[in-house]
Subunit: 360 residues, 2 copies
DNA sequence: TCCTTTGATGGGACCGATATCATTTGTCAC
DNA sequence: GTGACAAATGATATCGGTCCCATCAAAGGA
């Protein structure tokens, strides 16, 4: 048996005040169930604390009213928003979308919600978006791509929540980092081609000029050129063409441009599978045989690379697992309420050998 | 000259209370600037209301403290969260990602933030996610794909915010709808193939069984089969294979299965360009000439379809524009604070003729 | 029997903003 | 000089939850 509610009842006809919406609040539920607001709150957040009889009364009231708790209010009070912020260059890239999916999956069970922002590879937008995210008081922040604006870094340091940079390994991480070195991707690709005895080696990438920049792609190109230089090979067949983000079409036009300029080219590394696939398609149209005439290698292991003819040799990174792992780490971190020492995790790369590289 | 602040000053050493985070609040800014909290609030939300001298003092205090306003608190007070909810089947589909991008772009200037949830084509997840979204009190809800659970519909009706269903035209829309008829897509595709004189016509789609279902794809298939039936053609070459969501690989295996079962097939409509492209790739491997031996048509006009050989004939819908348009409508609607009569907008379709259909 | 402990629940303060209305100051016309 | 009005700013209540502690009943131990 429950005692009668002792909490003061609101006046029957409250002055209008700010109350516009008719949505039921926890107070409406508590009145209908004949319990205090706290009891309702407990039923919804930690039912074990409440007697089954009471619990059922409350749940019935919740159902009858169609009550949906207001997390905005709850967040303010508990100082936990349940948001994890994620900043991406774009969603229209299967690998970044996979990161989001992996993260979501890890966060789902702990009832966090991903708050996504993206920059369209625009550095200025990055800072604006970061402010937007911070204003929502996320409990952690996940970033893709290096933040370069000094302001942004400062805001992050001050944010007082875990910051994880993923899909790259910055030389000066803000805090945690889980990913791989895009520079190493470039070097690995070049090494792979060098080991196969190619000497006329080129690459397809976007131009790094302008505000819109793919920093991670640039790193890959830097590594690629470095490795060529170490091997005392020229880098004059490393083509910067168009602007980020790259696309199938980018690959196609860049390939044609490169081949026309350097007809003796033997092997090409594309900054992304998107470009690489576009290049293969353009090669088909130009009656250039892949890999007999030119070998092509990509990065990212997009699904389409597996399906084209010839299948694309590429460098694989498991972006979904990257998101998953990041999410798990954050859930643990937030549950233990301890902010451990900054960790740097290299998830590594894997060359996926398919048919687009000539065996020689 | 400003008068001295009259607002009661908090005790110098406040009792610890709940204050854990060290983040500055509007109160810290107001103290540093020597104005009231309201004045700070005004400077940040409607600077015109404040004298330039005062404004500068406040902005300096904001900068000095690194103050970032807490939108959670602001939302609770103003009863406007600035969130627009978007529910998608998945982010790993270029067209859905494009919807998100279009929406974001439209919402950016009005300073709304997209709150994304996705279901992975899982009906049960849909309802869970909807609750999560509603708990954040979005000012509008955008849905992709029909909601079928009765509960979900009920929750939406009760939500008291504009609801827009996009990328489909439901027979019984919850409120607003902007999109196209997936059923018409199917009929249009079949009509197109019929008009070209094909009589052995097949299709590639996912199996509709199980919890994980692509409702919109199913609608396309329904329209396709109906049109075949109206033409008194058999629908036995409409293949349901694998489960949603479809992929390049799905298209490849489904194509092989279909062709082996129905060697005399002349033309194939795939529920998505993803399947269609996969089919074209498999055809290359099987030495089946497209379109000479078999014509293939897709849906969605994904970029890859433009680049493959032969380029893919498909049905185009501008998903980015769809998102953009939806966003603009919502911004207007929310600005005028009037909830206009439910509107149904058909943005139509466009057949994009490329080389994958035989000219006969 | 009385005291302590535990479990269930309630009361009230509080989270950090903004809505609303009040107050103060300045301007201008008469 | 004075009153009317507008502009600038402040004081306070409030949004809808949860935290913290108080209260009360029941159970158990001495």
């Amino acid at each position: 048996m429950s005692r009668p509610p002792r909490e003061t009842t609101a006046p029957a006809d409250p002055k209008p005040g700010r109350r516009a919406s008719q949505r039921p609040t926890i107070r409406d539920v508590s009145r209908l169930a004949g319990v205090s607001r706290m009891t309702v709150s407990r039923v919804l957040s930690d039912p074990e604390l409440v007697l089954p009889t009471t619990r059922d009364k409350v749940l019935k009231a919740v159902a009858d009213l169609g009550y949906v708790p207001d997390k905005t209010a709850g967040s303010l009070s508990s100082r936990r928003t349940g948001f994890i912020a994620l900043m991406l260059p774009t969603l229209t890239n299967a690998n970044f979308a996979a990161v989001a999916h992996g993260l979501t999956e890890a966060l789902r069970e702990a009832n966090y919600h991903l708050l996504i922002a993206y920059t369209d590879y625009d550095m200025a937008e990055e800072e604006r978006q970061l402010l937007n995210l911070l204003a929502r008081r996320p409990e952690a922040i996940v970033l893709t791509g290096a933040m370069h604006r000094r302001n942004a870094s400062r805001m992050l340091m001050a944010a007082d929540v875990p910051v994880v940079e993923i899909a790259d390994l910055p030389s000066q991480p803000i805090e945690h980092a889980i990913g791989f070195s895009n520079y190493q991707v470039g070097r690995t690709a070049a090494r792979y081609l060098l080991d196969r005895g190619f000497t006329r080696i080129g690459a397809l990438a976007a131009s790094p000029d302008g505000e819109v920049t793919d920093h991670r792609g640039e790193e890959r190109m830097r590594g690629f050129e470095d490795e060529l230089r170490f091997a005392r090979l020229p880098t004059d067949a490393v083509l910067r063409h168009g602007s980020a983000p790259v696309s199938f079409h980018h690959g196609a036009t860049a390939f044609r441009t490169l081949v026309e300029a350097q007809p003796d080219i033997e092997a090409i590394f594309a900054v992304s599978d998107l470009s690489a696939v576009g290049a293969v398609m353009e090669a088909q149209r130009m009656n250039i045989r892949i890999p007999d005439d030119i070998s092509i290698m990509g990065f990212g292991d997009f699904e389409i690379g597996r399906e084209i003819n010839p299948a694309l040799t590429t460098i694989h990174v498991d972006f979904r697992a990257l998101g998953l792992r990041t999410g798990k780490m954050l859930v643990d971190m937030l549950a233990s309420d301890a902010n451990p020492a900054p960790s740097i995790v290299d998830v590594g790369l894997r060359i996926v050998e398919r048919a687009s590289i000539k065996d020689r």
